[in-house]
């Protein structure tokens, strides 16, 4: 059965003649939903978002309506909205497309969201690697202001809101919402400990703050357009709406594709949508949700029960691409970055690459994360330099198991999941390599290798 894309967020992106300026956006019905929204009560909008069940697209998949409900409205402090445009999870490239090709969709989503939570100021925190994107957003905001869509008394509604673009300078941890907030305040981006520093209560400048991903805020626009119940009919229960999948690695047609959640399986994505693997190659593994997600191995079978009680029995290529199914097979939908590896991939080298990333990007506050990510990197680097010891395979797993759950932020989990899953699922490959290298060391006269 051929699978059809359902393009909601990417409806106009890449369409012939569609440009990223305000005129083009207005010609395509732009800002009509904002116009409609500011005539409703903010609580009604929040209610629609709640009913839609839309889950965050930044990584954790937390329901957006619920996040907004937690905002501390009694404190009397101003409420902030932060759009997380730090998109730095390796393998993810959807937010950049939205920002470059349809910035007004994001601005409209931000304005509607601000009105719904009654925020008067929004910041778009954009990563330093997107200087062009920052320029495009600033221009879009100016255009919106010139038409009274942003600024004082928007569209005569009596409601005023400002949006500012804040540029980062390249650090993965600035994607973590509390690290982002510290960075936005001008400090070293050390994530804050929760409790007490839940952004919804003690966020930016210790005020209640909603932090949402770029794609999530675009979905809000469509939720308000369609109504929460109607939106929830797209996708499957608990996994509503569409999902942008960013496919990279060993496929014929890497790129971004948008589907109703759960509408297609991983196999359909790779073979039907992305044109399959390169000639003569077979599938070895897939990381389904950005580099932090646990790797899935070709040939594995997954059995168990889903949240709704139904049981499943899937091979790798049968897994539906939605939040709950990917969680049920022990990985996650994460940020939507699908990284495909064929049989030419050396898994030890692949993990060495991923570990180097995490060791470099750990902010260094928590000992288990700082030291753990560093030692995992040292061990896999040693393995990739031909100096493994046989016990290194278990040592890797041992180090990884001592990080998660013992840290301030979820980076701890993010950095241990790759090692845990690679070593578990490709144990033979790791062991063979270690054995061969240890054997070579004892016969080539070099003796034991230094443990650095």
């Amino acid at each position: 059965m051929p699978v059809q894309e359902t393009r909601l967020i990417f409806k106009h992106i890449d369409a012939a003649g569609y440009t990223n300026d305000l005129d083009c956006y207005l010609r395509h019905g732009g800002y009509e939903i904002l116009r409609k929204a500011v005539q409703q009560k903010p609580e009604e909008l929040c209610e629609e978002v709640m009913k839609s069940g839309v889950r965050g697209r930044g990584g954790a998949g937390f329901p957006c309506g619920m996040k907004w409900k937690f905002l501390d409205r009694k404190s009397g402090k101003p409420i902030y909205l932060i759009c997380n445009a730090d998109e730095s999870e390796p393998g993810t490239f959807k937010d950049r497309q939205i920002i470059h090709k349809d910035p007004h969709q994001l601005i409209e989503g931000i304005l509607i969201s601000c009105y719904a939570i009654q925020a008067k100021t929004a910041f778009i925190y954009i990563r330093g690697e997107f200087p062009e994107g920052a320029r495009i957003l600033e221009r879009a905001i100016e255009e919106a202001r010139s038409k009274n869509l942003c600024g004082d008394n928007i569209l005569g509604s009596g409601y005023s809101v400002e949006i500012f673009v804040h540029r980062g300078a390249g650090a993965y941890i600035c994607g973590e919402e509390t690290g982002l907030i510290e960075s936005l305040e001008g400090k070293r981006p050390y994530p804050r400990i929760k409790p007490p520093f839940f952004p919804a209560v003690l966020g930016l400048y210790q005020c209640p703050t909603a932090v949402n991903n770029v794609e999530t805020l675009c979905h809000v626009k469509h939720v308000i357009d369609m109504g929460g119940e109607e939106y929830a009919k797209i996708g499957t229960p608990g996994n509503s709406g569409t999902r942008i999948l960013c496919v990279s690695g060993h496929v014929q047609k890497p790129g971004y594709y948008e589907f109703a959640c759960g509408d297609l399986t991983l196999g359909q994505l790779i073979h039907d949508v992305c044109g399959g693997l390169r000639p003569g190659r077979s599938l070895k593994a897939v990381i389904p949700g950005g580099s932090s997600a646990k790797i899935l191995r070709a040939g594995e079978r997954y059995t168990g029960k889903l949240k709704d009680g139904s049981s499943f029995d899937w091979g790798l290529e049968d897994i539906p691409m939605d939040f709950d199914s990917l969680m049920a097979v022990g990985s996650m939908a994460g940020s939507g970055g699908v990284i495909v590896m064929d049989d030419s991939t050396d898994m030890v080298e692949a993990l060495a690459n991923i570990n180097a990333f995490y060791a470099h990007e750990s902010c260094g506050q928590c000992t288990p994360c700082r030291e753990g990510s560093l030692w995992m990197k040292k061990i896999t680097t040693r393995m990739s330099h031909g100096q493994a010891r046989q016990e290194d395979v278990d040592l890797l797993g041992n180090v990884a198991d001592q990080i998660a759950g013992r840290t301030i932020c979820a980076f701890g989990e993010a950095c241990s999941w790759p090692t845990q899953s690679f070593v578990l699922k490709f144990r033979d490959e790791f062991l063979n390599k270690a054995r061969a290298q240890a054997g070579a060391a004892s016969t080539n006269g070099n003796g034991a290798v230094p443990l650095i």
Partner: protein, 154 residues
């Protein structure tokens, strides 16, 4: 002291924030833009302008991949080395840098023209391997494409 041009660029951003220090990254970028890199002196100038201690400013300056605390070449090339680019062969591009310019990550050519730095993920994974030069991203890199790019940059 910040130069008049640096001060003006900073002042343009100031009204957006309740506190001056929120401009720390921006101020560092401004001085880096004008002076090429962030020297200890530049750090002190930023600290003075924002009412922070040099130590606080340095804790920000040393954290980010795109802030340079050491002199760099005229063109800083950021080659993505994260997993999607690795899968698609960024190691080969690294080798080409070494062969053609004699530099590896973290090094600058003796003529001061190019500095090569790694960068984790440019969000261009569907065109891996990819690098950023100035404000532009160059994807689907091959040694030939890299040669053409290097020739274009003076």
């Amino acid at each position: 002291m910040l130069s008049p041009a640096e001060q003006a660029a900073l002042d343009a951003e100031l009204p957006h924030y309740p506190a001056r220090r929120a401009l720390c990254i921006e101020a560092l970028k401004i001085v880096q833009h004008h002076r090429g890199w962030i020297s200890d002196e530049a750090l002190r100038d930023v600290a003075l302008a924002l009412g922070m201690t040099p130590h606080e400013v340095d804790s920000v300056a040393t954290f980010y991949n795109l802030l340079y605390r050491r002199p760099v070449g005229r063109h800083v090339l950021h080659l993505c080395d994260s997993v999607s680019c690795w899968v698609m062969g960024c190691d080969g591009i690294c080798d080409h840098f070494r062969n053609r310019l004699g530099i590896s990550f973290g090094e600058t050519t003796p003529d001061g023209r190019f500095t090569l730095l790694p960068i984790p993920c440019l969000g261009d994974c569907d065109h891996a391997p990819s690098l950023m030069a100035g404000n532009r991203i160059h994807g689907n890199l091959t040694p030939e494409k890299l040669d053409r790019l290097l020739d274009e940059l003076d």
